[in-house]
Symmetry: C2
């Protein structure tokens, strides 16, 4: 085989050139890669698609017992890094663990409310999952537990199916079912090595989605912060603002929505100033607002301090706990709960009860739980993997995305059986964990231990914690998810990405979490499709005193070669773009021909297609090339190819296109092609 190929390629001969002959003393032939057999080729593709990270490389050439140990360590990395664990590392992990515990306890209670669950379920989810993760996960910095976005998503999806106040038992059952399937989804994706699927949620989409979710969550907290009792169950901004202002002022419900908010805002300012105890206190509660707002200010100031001085990272980390303690104490001594300040009231003492029997494996909740679980599982994965990757690249260690998914999935499956809802890596707590100097996942174990003590000993003390504080804590936590700087950067870099980002943001804010996601994914896909449908092409010119040919738009001093048009195609030639590419090349040719005619310059005799960026070509692409060749033949212009890649050479050969065009018209570089064509040219116009 390879003999035949070499023979054919020998036709590419060294041509004596009138110019530049000194700069390239040797003309190389276009190489054809060694032919692989079909099975090897398929195996190669499968490997690169699913096992791109070559996960079994360490297992090669090892005895069986060693393989077993390695396999065990692959599933439970703690037994690998645990052997090098030291006291100094533990010091860092202990401090980090205590810090994130103090941050997570108030957050957990708040997030549980976001998911429409009793407060203890948030704490449960910060106890079991981090333990499992510590054994199976490979990230050293991630802090596991319930997170705001997933809680909101889960809460709003399940609420659509079951009313949490009327039917709390069924609501719990569906929650655990969804959590179970979220775990199954994650394990399955990891096990089937389909982890790359979450890459389809682009960075821009995540920024927009997170921002939108943060706004939605913050708006939801107006209920707790203002002490409103009747509140909408929808999450879009219009419904929420309507609820908020209806609570402050009744009788506006008849107005048309568009005017409503404006009118209400106006009434607010005028009438409430005059009659603070009339309208205003009707449903808003001023004591609640006072407590909520002052602690929110405290939390935000703490956050600001932490942001300004990196060394004071512990200030925003313990501020929530301090707020909870202070406000609880304050409510307890003033008995503000009797003046309408809503409090947590009941929070169950003791560790997680079993919940295996509550997971539905049949009936109507199975399908619903599955659907919700898949969605929540994917979102949870996206967040965890994004966090894991960020910190892994900061500390420069490798993270196996697929293994991470198996760890996260297992932790959620076990969680669903021990009264936890979907847990994942939290952005804010992971950052605190990192800054507090964690070394390994032991900080998660420490946190888990603190949560255990909290559950066993001090939950009754949370009885008088005002809901407004939880709302303040959630607001101050989600504020940092709104990343305006990132959005500005996205705008600067890529306008299409910005559209995806804003689509996700407004989709979440004005419709719902799912719609926002759908918009973001659709726009991202549209972008990919646009790229493969309308790839770029460029006219190349020669840079003076070099043998280099570049885009004449990028390099204005690049000069066209008389009588030769050089076009570069910037994409694989596939069915989705083959016609476009053919027609675009012909259009370049027509434009150029017209221009040359006007200036009565020599006509074009050669069309060189620079194929360096053409990584692949399919049957439709070959057809388009054949049609191009035919069109050029009719115009008496010769088609010349420069630098086709290995795959393309292979396919040109298989389709016999190389014979059709003539093997002496395929060159290694544009320079070679130009030097061979130029002497042959009849330069009369």
């Amino acid at each position: 085989m390879s003999n035949r190929v070499t023979d054919e390629m020998d036709i590419v001969s060294v041509s004596s050139s009138r110019r530049n002959s000194e700069s390239l003393p040797h003309v190389h032939k276009v190489g054809i890669p060694p032919k692989q057999n079909l099975l090897k080729e398929i195996a190669g593709t499968v490997k690169e698609t699913f096992f791109a990270d070559d996960p079994l490389r360490h297992f090669k050439d090892q005895p069986r017992s060693r393989k077993f140990v390695l396999g065990f360590q692959a599933v439970f990395p703690i037994f690998e890094w645990g052997r090098h664990y030291s006291l100094s590392k533990f010091k860092g992990d202990l401090i980090a663990g205590l810090t994130i515990a103090s941050l997570c306890i108030p957050q957990d209670i708040g997030y549980a409310k976001l998911a429409n669950l009793p407060p203890q379920y948030g704490l449960y989810s910060s106890f079991v999952p981090p333990l499992i993760y510590a054994f199976m996960g490979s990230s050293r910095d991630i802090a596991i537990g319930p997170v705001a976005v997933v809680s909101l998503l889960l809460g709003s999806l399940i609420q659509n199916e079951i009313d949490p106040t009327k039917n709390p038992a069924d609501y719990l059952r569906l929650t655990f079912t969804a959590t179970f399937f979220a775990g199954i989804t994650q394990v399955t994706l990891g096990f089937l090595r389909l982890g790359f699927l979450i890459d389809f949620l682009s960075h821009a989409a995540i920024v927009g989605f997170m921002g939108g979710a943060a706004v939605t969550i913050a708006l939801q907290q107006l209920k707790g912060l203002l002490g409103i009792k009747k509140f909408t169950k929808k999450t879009d901004i219009v419904s929420v603002m309507r609820s908020v202002f209806k609570a402050a002022h009744h009788g506006v419900s008849g107005y048309h929505l568009t005017f409503e908010i404006l009118l209400v805002l106006w009434h607010q300012t005028v009438s409430n100033l005059a009659n603070l105890n009339g309208y205003f206190v009707l449903q808003w509660n001023w004591q609640t607002i006072l407590i909520g707002m002052s602690f929110l200010a405290f939390l935000l100031v703490a956050k600001y301090i932490g942001k300004k001085k990196k060394k004071l990272f512990w200030v925003p980390a313990i501020a929530p706990l301090i707020s909870v303690i202070l406000s609880t104490f304050f409510v307890y001594i003033t008995r503000a709960d009797k003046h309408g300040v809503q409090i947590v009231k009941h929070i169950r003492r003791g560790i997680n009860p079993a919940s295996v029997d509550q997971i539905c494996f049949s009936g109507v909740y199975l399908a619903k739980g599955f659907r919700i679980g898949v969605l929540a599982g994917m979102i949870a994965l996206t967040e965890a993997v994004a966090i894991g990757r960020t910190f892994a690249s900061m500390k420069d260690y490798q993270l196996d995305g697929n293994k991470e998914m198996v760890a996260l999935g297992t932790m959620n499956i076990v969680g669903s059986m021990t009264s936890c809802y979907v847990a994942t890596g939290s952005f804010s707590r992971s950052a605190v964990n990192y800054m507090a100097g964690c070394h390994t996942a032991v900080s998660n174990i420490v946190m888990s231990g603190v949560v255990l003590l909290t559950l066993e000993l001090i939950t009754p003390l949370f009885k008088y914690t005002p809901n407004a504080i939880l709302a303040s804590i959630i607001i101050s936590a989600v504020v940092s998810l709104i990343d305006i700087e990132a959005a500005i950067l996205i705008w600067k870099i890529d306008k299409f990405d910005f559209v995806a980002c804003m689509g996700a943001f407004f989709g979440v804010v004005f419709c719902s979490v799912e719609i926002g996601l759908l918009i973001a994914v659709s726009i991202s896909f549209a972008k990919i499709l646009l790229q493969v449908t309308r790839p770029r092409t460029a006219i190349l010119g020669k840079l003076p005193r070099t043998t280099v040919y570049r885009n004449i738009l990028q390099y204005p001093d690049a000069a066209k070669v008389p009588g030769i048009l050089i076009v570069r195609v910037d994409s694989a030639i596939y069915f989705s773009n083959s016609n476009y590419i053919k027609e675009r090349i012909l259009r370049w040719l027509v434009d150029e021909t017209e221009r040359l005619k006007e200036n009565s310059q020599p006509r074009i005799q050669y069309l060189i297609v620079e194929m360096s960026p053409v990584t692949d070509i399919d049957t439709s692409g070959i057809h388009a090339m054949e049609e191009l060749l035919r069109s050029l033949d009719k115009r008496d212009i010769k088609l010349v190819l420069a630098n086709p890649g290995p795959v393309v050479v292979d396919k040109l050969h298989a389709s016999k296109f190389d014979e059709m065009i003539g093997e002496d018209r395929i060159f290694l570089t544009v320079e070679d092609a130009v030097r061979t064509c130029a002497p042959k040219m009849d330069l009369e116009p």
Copy 2:
């Protein structure tokens, strides 16, 4: 702006090199294209996406009256080419028109039966639509009329909704409604310039789909060919074969399906030989079989002759009409219809009646008609545009796909109001048209005229035409849709394409036309996604005695440069592949480092990323590059970029990544980069 850019780029300084300094006397800077404003950029993208062919170029700088004439000619190209029409052209068109008319009349009657319509509707659809197309279309070779695949698709889809024998009036109403919406779909796609959507059906998918449809259609003809009365309404091979053998042999319906066919085949051979007039003639009709088979043989021989000698193209073209005349005469004199040979019986005389009032614009048929129409319209478009493009490239004229769609759509809309069903360009008749020497769409007008005469004068003569002849004509027509050579070529060129092709084929044969289409489109999309998710990367080496760096797998004599690893990324860096690319580059690095360690060669100090094929980068891509930079910094390896394209340079600049990496590490060519890095290197291991 451009000043600042130049200043920054000045840092890329000419470096004195130890080697090769004679071959590249001048180091160029990486160019930044002139900055466009946002609106221009968006306008450019929109233009390239929707107006890639620049349809308004002829309108530029023309007076208003001229613009109006040009616009009128754009909608009705006949007024443009009509002015240059001559008698010699008409001669060609007349002969071609008569030839395709003789081919289309028997085909039309057969295809109408395929669509479960009375035979005259096929002729109607060959009368009005070709006339409209002749005025509006721009293809010179396409022959318009009903085609096999669309007739089958329409027939099977509408039959799922309404039984054509029980409720023929409603069946007709839904047919016209679907035809109307097929036309609307086509006009809309053309008008919104979304013509590129049909490119998403790849060549491979079309080959498979057409082959599958041909097999399905041929199987359906067994009904007519064998004279079976009770026949399945499903189109999949299993149902059809069951019908065929049930008709030949009763009592096997209790058997399990898998064994059934085998058993029946066995019974067939044994028992039918013994008892030809017992079982066999139970439902099969030997007179029908005799007529059908002998004419099928005649048609296939004619086809073979036409294929072998291109000059005898008229033999297969008139063979169907001769068969019809002969067989009709034969049946008429022998009165074979009294011996069970089914005949056409009734065929209405006269031209198309109006059918505007039969189109449903409300009620239950609106939605169904819309859905079926959209699907049939798309398939019809695909076929017509593929044909149009093929012949346009053979005669080298430009075809505006979007304008074609408007023409085809208008013709179907008018058709739906004049009792026609979906018409489009026919593969077989267009080929005959081309070979018979047509020059313009006038051949369609001639054909239309002949059909008119047929409708007015000789339809009653078709009364005794046996159905078996129509079946034979259809089989011989669709046989050429099974393009085994193309399938073999696809297998040779691209295995993934072959899977799409076979998926479409077996999907159509074993399930249904829609499923086949769905499979083909899904596989084609999966291929695009795979390409953007797992792009190729390659290690480059320097070709001896050149300044050219190429893939070392393709060019085994390319040599790596000590201390430098050169990686080329073969795709735009997008969210869908940014993580993969980052990790793949790091893996190349780790592999190479290990290899060097083993051989105790100098360690790698520079990683050059050749960006020529990287046509674009988005925010996720920039993030991945930042992470790559950070990882390399930790390993004390310097990242160097070579030849980023205009868009990439722009975005590296917007994201300040160029400052992060240092502008003096972005080079025009790999050679420049190597020459700058190499002298600085500490080559001790």
